[in-house]
Symmetry: C2
Subunit: 357 residues, 2 copies
Amino acid sequence: MWYVTEEDLIPAAIGAAILGTGGGGNPYLGRLRARAELRAGKKIKIIDPTEIADDDLLVAAGGMGSPVVAFEKVAGGNEETDAVRALERHLGRRFTAIAPFEMGGGNSMVPLVVGARLGIPIVDGDGMGRAFPELQMITYLIYGGSPFPAALADERGNRIVVDRIVDAHWLERIMRSVTIDMGGHAGLANAVMDGAFCRKAIIPNTLSLAIRMGKAVLAARRLHEDPGEAVVSQAGGRRYIRGKVVDVERRATRGFAKGHLVIEGVEDDTGRRVEIDFQNENLVIREGDEVPVTVPDLITLITSDEGEPITTELIRYGLRADVLVIPCPDLLKTPEALEVVGPRAFGYDIDYRPLVA
Amino acid sequence: MWYVTEEDLIPAAIGAAILGTGGGGNPYLGRLRARAELRAGKKIKIIDPTEIADDDLLVAAGGMGSPVVAFEKVAGGNEETDAVRALERHLGRRFTAIAPFEMGGGNSMVPLVVGARLGIPIVDGDGMGRAFPELQMITYLIYGGSPFPAALADERGNRIVVDRIVDAHWLERIMRSVTIDMGGHAGLANAVMDGAFCRKAIIPNTLSLAIRMGKAVLAARRLHEDPGEAVVSQAGGRRYIRGKVVDVERRATRGFAKGHLVIEGVEDDTGRRVEIDFQNENLVIREGDEVPVTVPDLITLITSDEGEPITTELIRYGLRADVLVIPCPDLLKTPEALEVVGPRAFGYDIDYRPLVA
């Protein structure tokens, strides 16, 4: 058990944005919201997955919607907490801890805000070990957690509870429509689970990993060292290419930011050209006829000089970037998980081959 | 207090389809469902609005979606009851009676089915006195009832509860999206209200009116009398034109059947040509440069020979039809009501002028 301090927030936001692989929304606003809670005297208490009690009642909480919208439409600040409270009223029970959805961008910070507001701890871990674009892509649901009840809330005070849903794909479909109606961004609470299940299904220690990664990046900046090296020293993996963004095509569709970008190598990588597809998150790297890296392994861009993570909505022509590739957690590599988060789940007719780091 | 018998169902379906002004879905399937309940030994108990107790807890229940879809996608049969039960669980209270949404087509029969299944009475009356295409267009909401909680359920077992909503227009917007996701038709329960309020806001005795109208039509058929005359003898109003459908244009859009039809007069009306716009329901009559009849007054088509009501989805070229116009109930003529169900609410830049029958 430990408490997040204001000093942890910038590193956490940097690390979470790197794990966010381009998605999960920009962590900047989320970080300010977490800081506001701390400055208001609230505590952000973190527990290790091993500290979860069997009869704890946990829920995942975060933002749903296109990160492009989340960045432009500032969150009201209450929607995720409202969603959690709506579920508590619906169930007639109180949650004892928050289990984060995803360790990516804004959604890495939101659980801290919700936990602080409700006065309950947040588990150091998450349901993705990264960010993913769709609701069913969380280990809590992949490993048998119930897709209902779930709640969605917006900043106007609209609140929807899913009382029952056939499966996680239906949950995604309906929640996505309602999110679009709500203006493209909403607060979500789902994956209600007991402690015994959560301990098995959560990807552990991703918040502390994010903070360590962020601190390593900040140290590299201070010492004029290579920030990409600093990241992979904490997370594993390697730099795939150093280059320059020469093309980016992005469209907002059905609540997603879909598109692709092209990077041309510089320095040692001069002459190479790689293409990266994204759907909120970076999905695959193509180089020539090869697809050497795919989801669920992590493909993340940082600026070459400062190691600043580059989220999908901020990619622009001319940006100097290192593309880092990081092996995903083992819980995402099982056949059950690959069915939901492997390349075929995103429409690619290729098998997942684990990244060799 | 009285009980609906199997002999009432065909007249009720005919009368409700006439009041449905083209919308509310085809009553055929709803009638079969109500009959199945009676044949299974269930009771359909009707109470007069004056018999509602102050502390009764009522809810409106019906189908939501495009009538075109409702006709093609046969209702599973449980969705409206599931929606009501979901609201009961959400509230932690039992409803004591059902207040129908609309006296139009399928939705006139659904409350009978739900009441029979739950073993509670149905009020003889409804929230529209006819059919309307959108959720906010019910007197229960127009006169200050709360738009939340509300529930939507489909035949697969998906159930959504609206825990809180800003206003009835937001309810319509979100429920419409979810209905479309659910395949274009879903069971809806909303307008939770106490008896004291319901007595004031309900349009009274529309079920018994529908049954009387249907019986009058059936009698006219037997006696080879004019069915249009039989209808207006019960409901008021008059025949606007007798003619032939010479054009119909219809499209399914955002869960609605929108379009218009053209009727050319025959017999005494030879030489006249009228156009009727519809959005699920018939909205306005145009003749030359005039718009002589508009919502909320009733514009309804019946076959000239048999007095069979013609719902929007069944209009076809060549059909011989009487267009009947019937003054709407007084509760739809107030300024509050006209703001929601008057011609301007449907995008027409004209004021409502009450039909002179």
